[in-house]
Symmetry: C2
């Protein structure tokens, strides 16, 4: 994130909020609009406290039960969607492969007819997929960057809509079946998240429409929405990989701020429901019974790692292999970094030269890549493929149907190795690379002996060509205008690399004893290494891979490999998801600051120019501020002149909110959100000072417009309203999180991440507002600049570290209006009514 | 925790800290001493900031590497210890069983000889185990309550010492081999935690002794110690159950405050190392090769759940069974609650009548229970055991060696069912209940037909007798003076219950088709239900059981069962670990407050009487306060009279720390720990106001005494020192976490749990200290009382909820010294030197 200036904080004025960030127009994935932060904090204002004080034990139990039902519904729905996607892909692929293969057999030597059919069908599929994206640009890509951002606390518009879900689900069926090197796993996770957002809201609307009160039913804050989306994403992972634990850890790793035991437990339940539904449906189709056997069926199934001779006693790997795995991880990290760098260049080019030119050009790019990929595959099979002897007894039953003889004489028990790799679904190819060792021979067309190296199942040249082509096309594909996941292509590339590695290893060490050398392990580790090198995920990826291989004894090897791959990759660039997040200028919040920056304090980071409101400002003033700024929240403050000590404040500016640059006398009372003020205005919650006070809004009325609050420009006010008063203090958050100006950056990060904050107010030990920290202040490039400034300053001012006294902001950056007394700001007539001291 | 008044807050004066809690003397598990809270917060004082500002990139990398090495060492050591315990138990058990069984065979009808041997050996083992506990009382029990408290943030003395580890490890070998119904898993987790504490400290001392600087090496704060202990506990779970993920989630569920990605990743690595070492060693012993096959070997191994006919296609359970599982969960919850209640009565009795009488009586109790259990087992085998026909082909090879014919005629292929259950290790019995269905017949002694119900492997009467005896003896055993885990006995009881349930189910529904009815599933669910009903753990237990069964398709059933068991059990009492924690009066901090209490605010909870210090108090005053109170931290404050507004404070009391009851003018500057002050005194860091200032301590010097800081009574001071000044402001934490008096209790809990706090200072919007919240204020019984008071008050005062103004404390409880002006407190001569305004 270091090189991107997504917001130029030197020039901009408004920093109360990350907000008002216009995404550059040339990026058409997300149409230009406002990106806001999510707020995980609760606002315990008066209406909220009244609201919760009505909660009896019964209502609490009901709410709890409602939550459980909601989480299970999300899980079930995600399982169903994942199943539908899987069935769709299987059906479409079967249609394509079977028809083509039929013609391959019929026109044995004539290549053009099946080739035309193959390419034509692939092209058609690709075009359909891209049409979905043209219709809903948010459905493009894997969706993981979007979900990552959402869980991180960025409200991306339209990402979790039902329309996006539908387009993504149908789109990915066609893009995967179209032969593009992309997976359906990312889109499934995205679908789960969309269901997590959609189901509670949909049910809430339904209940409302049916005439029931929905006071305890709806989702009226970012907090519960984010919880549901976390659970949905977890359920998506669970369905895609059959990894419920991996799903929960994915949600935790990517997003969850605070390890909340109850929420984690519910998320796990949601994941389990999703995995269960999928398993029931899959086993119903496979075995025609609605029972759960001990055969495991997640969507991705790598098959069981077992010994070549079928026994349970062989050695899959030994302790000495750990060193080999570390080496493989390093190479995987390098390859991954290469992949990311190449994709970065391609994507930058694409943003500037393809996406700019509109939807049709984007669709044309998809068509082009579809044609290129299917042609390449087709040509390579016929030119690069080797005929390899097939040892039927040494091959698992499940894999036997996947063998492609192509033009190799079937009678001689030969198969085309490249055809077998390229003319199957990616999942099946991975399974073959993991488990297919047929004890045949490199030159088996001539040679009849069988005790030959294991790895000769695929000719190394075929593997290398397959690897290179797949690497390049996958790199080209990620980012085009179709829904496309990244996991499966990366696993496939990695598994191919692993088999090549195993071949080399075997050639060097001349290991031929199959009970001491198991190529499947190297394929698995290769897959982990490359995937880790590309996405740089840690905990959740380890768990997902362990759950997918169903073999916990691969835990340490997978973990070591991923670790090394990440370390090596991080030397060169970021993970691919992060690269794409940067390209889209989404302000991701990292887990923690660099340890090097630990000496930075809150006062160095904060923005010290801020807008504030009085506890009871006039409508006119408030509207003026709301229209002028884009801030999403305003500290509610009082000016003091402290004639009396200890507890009493004299109000000077009772009516207005003004911008002051000298914040040293602003006592913090609370924080009010833009959404709250707008709701108050819309609901006409303002009053004359002389007139009777209003009854006030309830908590439900206050959050009624969630998530789309009216725009300030849509609110019409009469001239007479202008001088009426809004009661901010009743609706504000009276206890926003605050931090001392002296708090080190680690503390700020901990607070932000672990509490899911949107605003953190910097308050000194006099209770005075010194500044505010939001997501934008915690962006890497901003901290980096602050750190540079600080180091420079430290070098010039000696002994500055011993001065613990709060320095008001960042020295040179504060624009104090010297010589302007507070009263000069306050030329608006003060209300005469005595407000209760607050 | 509701009925225990472990601290009587009405009468006590000192509430700055949970601290000075004298555990009742009659409880000899933990000898009476001070229990303190752990502090997970960092103190970014001047020495610390200087310390970290010297960190270069190289040092950061070195520290990171050091951490990784440390975590892997802890994992490896835990694996080794677990392996040693396992070997020890196996060896000792084999010695006992083999010798007895030899005599059973020899004196076929004469029971006394083998019986004497059996009881004698068991008695000897039990006595040895109890001798270890007599030597180190902390080694008693499972250790999980202790670890739970430690991870929760309570520093229990001597719990993670090496001596405790050694006694626990050796003790548990003998108690398990002695035939007591206890497991070795809890003690393994305890051992892991002890290694987590011991290894970094031991290495640190070693490096120091070798003459190296250990500035960057040692563990000098609670934070890193707690991290290492978390990892150690995770490694212990990982080793005990072969469940690395379960281990990580155990640590997170029980303790970790804040989901820290980097720490979780390191903990997972530690767990993986532990599992790996164990697996290597076990497979080296079993297969004589140092390789990892696909045969999985954690310490507990429930075996693979597969179909009776050996195929992979049968049905282990169907969707309709989910209802059955819920029912089983409810019954399990009931049984668990019964178990807990019974154990509660027994333990209370034991505390009052056994433990009080000293070590010898405790040992005698162990001897008694050892004799009773082994006699019961022996007698039951010979009286209650049924001879059952053994279908050798239907039995897995692994289980065949476990069959006990006892006095049943071996030639007729009969075995004694009770003997098979009781005369094996508990793990093996569980394995048999899960997997042993021999298609034989109830009355197989007479009947030769073989297509008879599955469940007749064990006569239902034998199962019921086994269940009842085991239930009672396990209940009696938990809490006696030996190291004894709870997991395995509970699983065994539950599995027996599950098989009885399966028998009834089969009798009712007449299901005989083995491919539709799989008794092993019911045994597993029964085991989960009972264990869940006893311990009431959720996430980690689910994951542990899934990992142990190696079958993720049991995920949903296990989770549902545990959930229902917990809900049902919670209607009656708490989990057994929590019951024992309550009995020991350890102040556990719950995850969150009851939702009913959401209206309680920080000001209702806090303690408003507190001791504070000036930024530069005199030595005499400080010593007086330290000796008078037991507080572990003191707010550093200033008195204001606010003649000037905005930013300037006039110091009235520059020299002393005094107790004020009117806190309304105390401006919070920071927080200083008792340990810091004591270190300053010990290192003679005080100075004359006229003399030169001191150079000051470095961060390493300041934390040098960790974890055992000198007692204030051990510090000798001259009269001349009394008037010297201590510079608190240099060493205090300048930015302690604070909270608004208006913050609701949920916010306070979130802060405490997610940040691992020890002190949370309540500060109003004037920057004035209103009170302090520590662990003791967040205890259930305290909140309950506050809630009751509040409800009463709300009922008398109408409209009080609309008054958002900070009320100073809890109305009636504040002892304001009316009419006493601040200056009356300040009769000690003020220093004349001008201190910098701070």
């Amino acid at each position: 994130m270091s090189n991107v200036n997504w917001i130029d904080s030197e020039e901009e004025e408004d920093f109360t909020e990350i907000s008002p960030l216009l995404v550059q127009k040339r990026d058409q994935f997300i149409s230009p609009t406002i990106i806001e932060s999510l707020d995980y904090d609760r606002c315990p204002n008066e209406p909220y406290m009244n609201f919760i004080s009505t909660k009896t034990k019964q209502i609490i139990s009901y709410l709890n039960l409602k939550d459980w039902i909601m989480f299970s519904l999300i899980g079930v729905a995600t399982g169903l969607v994942a199943f539908a996607i899987d069935m769709g892909v299987t059906f479409l692929s079967k249609l394509k492969f079977d028809n083509t293969y039929k013609y391959v057999k019929r026109y044995n030597s004539l290549l053009t007819v099946p080739m035309t059919i193959y390419i034509g069908v692939s092209l058609l599929y690709c075009l359909i997929a891209s049409a979905f994206v043209a219709f809903t640009p948010e459905a493009a890509g894997s969706g993981i960057p979007e979900i990552k951002c959402y869980l991180n606390g960025i409200r991306l518009p339209k990402v979790v809509r039902i329309k996006t879900l539908v387009c993504k689900a149908f789109g990915v069926m066609f893009s995967v079946a179209g032969g593009l090197p992309c997976g359906k796993e990312g889109p499934m996770i995205h679908s789960g998240a969309a269901l997590g957002a959609g189901i509670p809201e949909g049910l809430s609307r339904l209940v409302k429409r049916m005439g029931f009160t929905e006071s305890f039913f709806g989702v009226h804050d970012d907090r519960s929405k984010r919880d549901f989306i976390s659970a949905g994403a977890a359920a998506g992972v669970s369905a895609a990989f059959g990894a419920p634990l991996g799903g929960v850890l994915f949600s935790l790793e990517e997003g969850s701020s605070f390890w909340n035991q109850a929420l984690t437990w519910k998320t796990l339940f949601c994941s389990m429901c999703s995995a269960f539904v999928l398993q029931i449906l899959k086993s119903a189709i496979e075995t025609k019974t609605a029972g759960i056997g001990n055969k495991y069926s997640g969507l991705i199934n790598f098959g069981e790692f077992k010994c070549a001779d079928g026994s349970n006693e062989c050695m899959l790997w030994g302790p000495q292999d750990l060193i080999v795995f570390i080496l493989m991880g390093a190479v995987g990290g390098l390859l991954g970094a290469m992949f990311n760098q190449l994709n970065l260049y391609i994507t930058k080019y694409r943003i500037n030269h393809v996406n700019m030119k509109g939807r049709v050009v984007r669709m044309m790019e998809v068509a082009l890549i579809g044609i290129v990929i299917s042609s390449l595959a087709y040509v390579s099979i016929n030119t690069a493929g080797h005929c390899v002897r097939w040892n039927k007894n040494g091959t698992e039953k499940e894999l036997q149907n996947l063998m492609r003889t192509w033009h190799c004489p079937e009678k001689k028990h030969l198969y085309n190795d490249y055809g077998t790799l390229a003319f199957n679904s990616q999942e099946n190819t991975i399974k073959m690379l993991f488990h297919h060792f047929n004890y045949s021979d490199l030159n088996s067309t001539n040679n009849e002996s069988t005790d030959l190296p294991l790895q000769a199942t695929y000719h190394p040249l075929s593997l290398v060509i397959f690897l290179v082509l797949l690497f390049l096309t996958a790199c080209w594909t990620y980012g085009i205008g179709v829904p496309s996941g990244l996991f499966v292509p990366c696993l496939l590339i990695g598994a191919t690399y692993g088999r090549i590695f195993a071949f080399c290893y075997q050639q060097i060490f001349k290991t031929t004893n199959p009970s001491l050398f198991y190529p499947g392990t190297y394929a698995l580790i290769g897959a982990a290494a490359f995937l880790g090198g590309v996405v740089r995920m840690t905990i959740s990826l380890t768990v997902i891979l362990i759950e997918t291989t169903r073999n916990i004894s691969y835990g340490l090897p997978i973990m070591l490999t991923l670790m090394v791959a990440k370390w090596v990759g991080d030397l060169f660039n970021k993970g691919l998801y992060d690269i794409h997040i940067e390209l889209k200028h989404w302000p991701l919040l990292e887990w923690e600051a660099e340890p090097l920056w630990e000496t930075i304090r809150a006062k160095d980071l904060m923005k010290s120019n801020l807008e504030w409101l009085n506890p009871r400002p006039t409508v006119g003033r408030v509207v003026e501020i709301l229209k002028r700024t884009k801030h999403s929240a305003f500290p509610v403050c009082m000016y003091t002149d402290s004639q009396q000590g200890g507890g009493t404040l004299r109000r000077n500016a009772a009516k207005l909110g003004i911008t002051v640059n000298d914040r040293s006398q602003l006592r913090l009372l609370g924080l009010i959100l833009r959404s709250q003020i707008v709701t108050l205005l819309k609901k006409e919650q303002y009053f004359d000072l002389d007139g009777p006070e209003l009854e006030g809004l309830t908590h439900n009325q206050l959050t009624e417009f969630y998530p789309k609050y009216p725009d300030i420009d849509d609110i019409t006010l009469t001239i007479a309203d202008q001088n009426k008063i809004i009661d901010c203090k009743k609706y504000m958050n009276p206890c926003p999180y605050t931090v001392s100006p002296l708090a080190p950056i680690t503390k700020v990060f901990t607070l932000f991440r672990s509490l899911g904050l949107r605003h953190l107010i910097v308050v000194n030990n006099m209770g005075e507002v010194e500044g505010i920290i939001t997501r934008s202040e915690l962006q890497e490039h901003h901290i980096e600049r602050v750190y540079r400034d600080k180091v420079e300053k430290d070098n010039t001012i000696a002994g500055s570290t011993t001065d613990l006294r709060a320095q008001p902001g960042l020295g040179g950056k504060i624009q104090r209006l010297e010589g302007v007394s507070p009263s000069e700001f306050l030329q608006i007539p003060q209300p005469t009514r005595t407000l209760r001291t607050f």
